[in-house]
């Protein structure tokens, strides 16, 4: 029984530590905010220029001047601060964010990540993803283990254009958790979702990996 989206978000939340400043990408990563343990102080950065993102506003209270990087309306906290895009990415590029959790299209043994472009299809743009993976201290990718076609996404080498080279620290899929360590060590499968076998993972993975569950 593979993990659900919510399970994956909950697992990603276990990478949080007290006092962390964190950037969460669009999709499952956004759900991670719902699993911050009670009493743990985590500050969410939004790369469009905010530290201390609050929850969605109550109905009728949305403010057009207050959105997150996914263009959703949000709220502020007592501790929030606003700044320009240049200051925001100075923060990201300068290594001041402890953790980035983001989605992926492909992850490779060498820590490469592709998540912004499929040649021949429409290109939407990389937004802040390249800056995040280049600048943030620890990068966790949360993605489906395979494509809808069944093709594996954890590969020897990415064949889609890269978002960053040698940038992924940890990969969470519905089947389990992989230590990628930016390609500095061999990939290790370190957790399995309940009911998932190593054989199943091997069948659905192109990358070589050792098993340490």
């Amino acid at each position: 029984m593979a993990w659900t989206r919510e399970d994956m978000a909950a697992r990603a939340a276990r990478e949080l530590r007290d006092g962390f400043y964190v950037n969460l990408g669009i999709g499952i990563p956004t759900l991670v905010a719902n699993y911050i343990p009670e009493g743990m102080h985590v500050t969410l950065q939004s790369e469009n220029g905010m530290l201390g993102m609050g929850p969605f506003p109550y109905e009728g209270e949305a403010d057009a001047d207050l959105i997150n990087a996914g263009k959703q309306t949000i709220t502020e906290l007592d501790s929030s601060s606003y700044f320009s895009s240049a200051d925001s990415f100075a923060m990201i590029r300068g290594g001041h964010i402890a953790l980035s959790i983001l989605g992926g299209m492909q992850v490779a043994e060498n820590g490469d990540l592709a998540n912004w472009m499929v040649p021949g299809k429409m290109v939407k743009g990389m937004g802040g993803a390249m800056d995040l993976v280049a600048g943030v201290k620890r990068v966790v990718v949360v993605m489906d283990h395979c494509e809808k076609t069944g093709a594996p996404k954890l590969l020897h080498r990415c064949n889609l254009p890269l978002t960053g080279a040698g940038v992924v620290d940890l990969l969470i899929t519905e089947l389990g958790v992989f230590e990628i360590n930016r390609g500095k060590t061999p990939v290790r499968l370190i957790e399995l979702a309940p009911g998932v076998t190593v054989d199943e993972v091997k069948a659905k993975t192109e990358a070589a990996f050792t098993v340490a569950v």
Binding site: Q72, S84, S85, K124, M126
Partner: protein
């Protein structure tokens, strides 16, 4: 003092527009965009524009209206996924596109305004973004050189401004506006509120007046929201 205060967008832009020019436009998505100035640029009919903006509005609003009128020749952006017309024009070859990582775009604009012609960044190393650019190692890490960016005109949206051109922005509507204000050969600003000189807190002026050539109180601020996301109040 040469008066910086104009009565509207048309007056503020007079004499500044020409075909083939480069325009920087503030905003992130539809948040903090200079909607009155965009509308006036549409009315002016100026064409063959290169527009530097993080996004390109949506179909029918923001910079999207300059796509409809085919006034934009090239976009320099980080993300344009919100716009279907954009896709058509790009695929048909009517529109040129240069993608920059968002932080690189922000820093290029900041550098342009600050007299820095080039800088090195880790962002994009090993990707398409670094192709054709100088890469160099510093202290064991590899970086790519990116160039400063300036424009013929920057159009900026602020919350409040005074007659000196001192500006403050509100919440995440700040985004690219302050850097763009520094990187335009001319900078024109629309504000929601004109205030008396001295009314703004001197310690907290986001854009000092030196960067502003003309400003005006915008006639309309529609401030559309792309994705209204809300939660329900729990019953008590």
């Amino acid at each position: 003092m040469a008066d910086k205060v104009a009565k509207d967008a048309v007056e503020a832009l007079s004499g500044l527009l020409f075909d083939g020019m480069t325009i920087m436009a503030g905003g992130f998505g539809l948040c903090g965009i200079p909607e009155n100035l965009i509308a006036a640029i549409r009315e002016s009919g100026v064409k063959d524009l290169t527009v530097v903006s993080n996004n390109c509005g949506v179909d029918g609003f923001g910079l999207g209206i300059l796509l409809e009128s085919r006034q934009i020749r090239k976009m320099i952006s980080s993300y344009v996924g919100e716009n279907k017309l954009f896709e058509q024009l790009y695929l048909s070859g009517e529109l040129e596109l240069e993608f920059n990582p968002q932080g690189t775009l922000a820093e290029r604009i900041r550098a342009g305004g600050a007299g820095i012609p080039a800088f090195f960044t880790k962002t994009g190393v090993g990707t398409l973004v670094a192709e054709g650019k100088e890469v160099r190692e510093f202290d064991g890490e590899v970086y790519v050189m990116e160039r400063g960016l300036v424009a013929d005109l920057s159009i900026v949206k602020a919350w409040k401004g005074d007659a000196e051109g001192n500006l403050v922005y509100r919440k995440t509507a700040r985004n690219f506006n302050p850097m763009m204000a520094t990187a335009g050969k001319a900078t024109v600003v629309e504000v929601e509120e004109m205030v008396a000189i001295g009314a703004l807190d001197k310690d907290n002026i986001h854009t000092p007046g030196i960067y502003v050539d003309r400003l005006f109180k915008g006639a309309v601020f529609e401030k559309r929201i792309e994705r209204v996301t809300t939660r329900v109040k729990e019953a008590v």
